[in-house]
């Protein structure tokens, strides 16, 4: 990690050092705390009773501890499981395919003997300068390719990105040419050179780019909102989005009197706490996986910016 090495050498301990220490610990501690607090509040809300929340509002600690909200989330566990399965399949499939395409492309663009590489590089970079915008893309997916309500409409839009390509390319450029030349003298074709020589050397880049792609799939709700109409096909984030907004819609109905509040209280459906519990169920895996993947992201940001 970037801040591993202490940078300051030996400095005299004067009043200024103490003052700076107070500022540094205070400020960083405060920012870190502010980053954590919303997570804690959602967690606390999810373990509170609905009644306590409607009376007092959300707080930092669970009020009137209850798991009612989680029971409601898993009332029909298949719904949650299905959304999870969709997202996991998309993430694994998309990451694998995306990595394959990106690695092949980056490898070719990094080979100096390929005289057309600048032309092809420009072909890719230009798409970051100008885009057709939302409407033509929307028509392309929905009508031209006819992918409305298909999983492909979730898979394809995130498959390839020029930024990931740049990270990968700058990594491959770091491999000594002699290694690749040696492989060719030994009679390796380009594909074998790529798979047997280059890929083992760029494992960190594969991890970094792979995680960037995976995160994009995991957190995607936008493509689902635009292209997916069947509830059973919703990926996790859009499932959460829909649930949260359905609860809002339900509340509006109550306010308008279309559903009598007696009906609502009789089924006693948790709404506010349910939102929080759903959010925890959706966020959980990311937070748990986070400590293990953080360093790859740090790497990726640093490489990406040097040659971005």
């Amino acid at each position: 990690m970037a801040a591993e090495r202490s940078h300051l050498g030996k400095v005299r301990k004067g009043g200024d050092v103490i003052a700076l220490n107070i500022i540094a610990y205070g400020f960083c501690g405060l920012v870190a705390l502010l980053c954590l607090v919303p997570f804690l509040m959602v967690l606390a809300g999810s373990f509170s009773s609905e009644q306590a929340i409607t009376q007092n509002g959300f707080s930092l600690l669970p009020q009137d501890f209850s798991v009612e909200a989680y029971k409601t989330v898993f009332r029909d566990p298949m719904v949650v499981v299905r959304a999870y399965a969709t997202t996991i399949c998309l993430t694994i499939g998309g990451t694998f395919l995306g990595l394959c395409i990106q690695t092949m492309t980056a490898y070719v663009l990094a080979r100096k003997e390929f005289e057309w590489r600048n032309a092809f590089s420009f072909f890719f970079y230009f798409t970051t300068l100008f885009s057709g915008g939302l409407v033509p893309y929307y028509i392309l997916i929905n009508q031209t390719l006819n992918l409305r309500d298909s999983y492909l409409a979730l898979l394809l839009p995130l498959l390839f990105s020029v930024y990931n390509l740049l990270i990968m390319k700058s990594y491959i450029l770091g491999i000594p040419d002699s290694l690749i030349d040696a492989a060719k003298i030994d009679g390796c074709g380009e594909f074998r050179t790529l798979v047997q020589v280059v890929v083992p050397l760029i494992k960190p880049a594969l991890a970094t780019v792979g995680l960037f792609i995976a995160l994009a799939y995991w957190n995607d709700w936008y493509n689902a909102m635009l292209y997916i109409k069947t509830e059973e096909k919703y990926p996790l984030q859009y499932f959460l989005y829909q649930q949260v907004n359905n609860i809002e819609g339900y509340k509006k109905l109550i306010a308008n009197g279309s559903v009598s509040s007696a009906v609502v209280s009789s089924v006693n459906l948790p709404t506010q706490t349910l939102k929080m519990a759903l959010t925890i169920v959706v966020t959980g895996p990311i937070v748990l996986a986070y400590p293990f993947v953080q360093k790859y992201f740090v790497q990726g940001i640093t490489i990406g910016a040097v040659k971005g």
Partner: protein, 310 residues
């Protein structure tokens, strides 16, 4: 390629490069379909779209779509909002990220530094849908944590979701919240790259720690700061749809303060099914983005050739 030898040479090279070309094929096909083909769709901005006609068969209507966009006053509003938000985001994020990076390196307790850095990076990993729920948790009029605090202190509840003036602050806060850890990584790397002998020299010259920060660290990370600043200027006409839509949603009461180009494009298309106007807004944005990116790239090249995109 207009003489025979040229054509022959071209095919000879293509044959020589066949493995390379085969490897490029998936990405090239993908880019043609998903990036270049949609670019031709910008003609829709000058058409009155109908389903049966599609992109090519719909009748032309000249600048009608643009006229509507500009005369309704929406063009000015969303462009202003987009630019002002991005200016606020860039300034506040840059300053905070640099402060965090500098102060993190001043922390000697390894565990404290690691844990706080990890916590700051955490929000980057969650989706804006989840951030939307968190915002509700804090700012909801009836159940929000903030209103609970306000009433506990004897104040009146504030209806944030019907109070547009509050949203620039809320949006700036969450944008910073989500990006502070991620953004500071770049500056941390820049600080780590500073030659330690400069610090030693400063210490011998009797500089105190604050002088060291302001006279050594900050000037030394200026090149990185300028590059990152310019690169973010390149996106000044892009609104972060994910953020605005999840925090504000379809709450029309807030639009004057929160509507950006991207949310308007989306609404025109999906809510109002006005393909023509949505395409016009999209083209307007694409052209503005193109011009700024090209200009920014020139400026970046002026500072450091390594960072230019093309």
């Amino acid at each position: 390629m207009n003489n025979k030898k040229g054509v022959k040479g071209f095919f000879k090279k293509a044959y020589k490069y066949r493995a390379f070309l085969l490897m490029l094929l998936p990405a090239v096909v993908y880019t043609l379909i998903f990036a270049y083909y949609p670019m031709t769709g910008v003609v829709l901005a000058f058409k009155k779209y109908n389903f049966s006609g599609g992109i090519w068969g719909s009748p032309w209507n000249g600048f009608e779509n643009f006229k509507f966009f500009f005369q309704s006053g929406q063009a000015g509003l969303v462009t202003r909002n987009t630019v002002l938000y991005n200016v606020a985001f860039i300034i506040i994020n840059t300053v905070t990220q640099i402060a965090v990076a500098i102060l993190l390196t001043e922390i000697h307790g390894k565990h404290f530094r690691k844990v706080s850095q990890s916590l700051m990076f955490l929000p980057y990993f969650i989706s804006w849908v989840i951030v939307g729920v968190m915002a509700f948790n804090i700012f909801s009029s009836d159940y929000g944590f903030l209103n609970r605090l306000i009433t506990a202190l004897g104040g009146e509840k504030v209806a944030f979701y019907t109070k547009p003036e509050a949203w620039p602050f809320i949006l700036v806060f969450f944008n910073l919240w989500k990006g502070v850890g991620y953004g500071s990584v770049m500056y941390l790397a820049a600080i780590m790259g500073i030659d330690t002998s400069i610090y030693e020299a400063a210490a011998i010259d009797g500089a105190n720690v604050f002088q060291r920060i302001f006279k050594v660290t900050i000037p030394m990370i200026m090149p990185t700061t300028i590059i990152l600043f310019l690169l973010s200027i390149g996106g000044i006409f892009k609104g972060n749809f994910d953020m605005f839509y999840n925090l504000v949603g379809t709450n029309g009461l807030l639009y004057n303060y929160t509507d950006v180009i991207d949310t308007l494009t989306f609404r025109a298309l999906v809510t109002n099914n006005n393909y023509g106007m949505s395409a016009a807004v999209g083209l307007f944005q694409s052209v503005l983005c193109f011009i700024t990116v090209v200009l920014v790239n020139k400026l970046v090249g002026h500072y450091d050739k390594d960072y230019t995109l093309f």
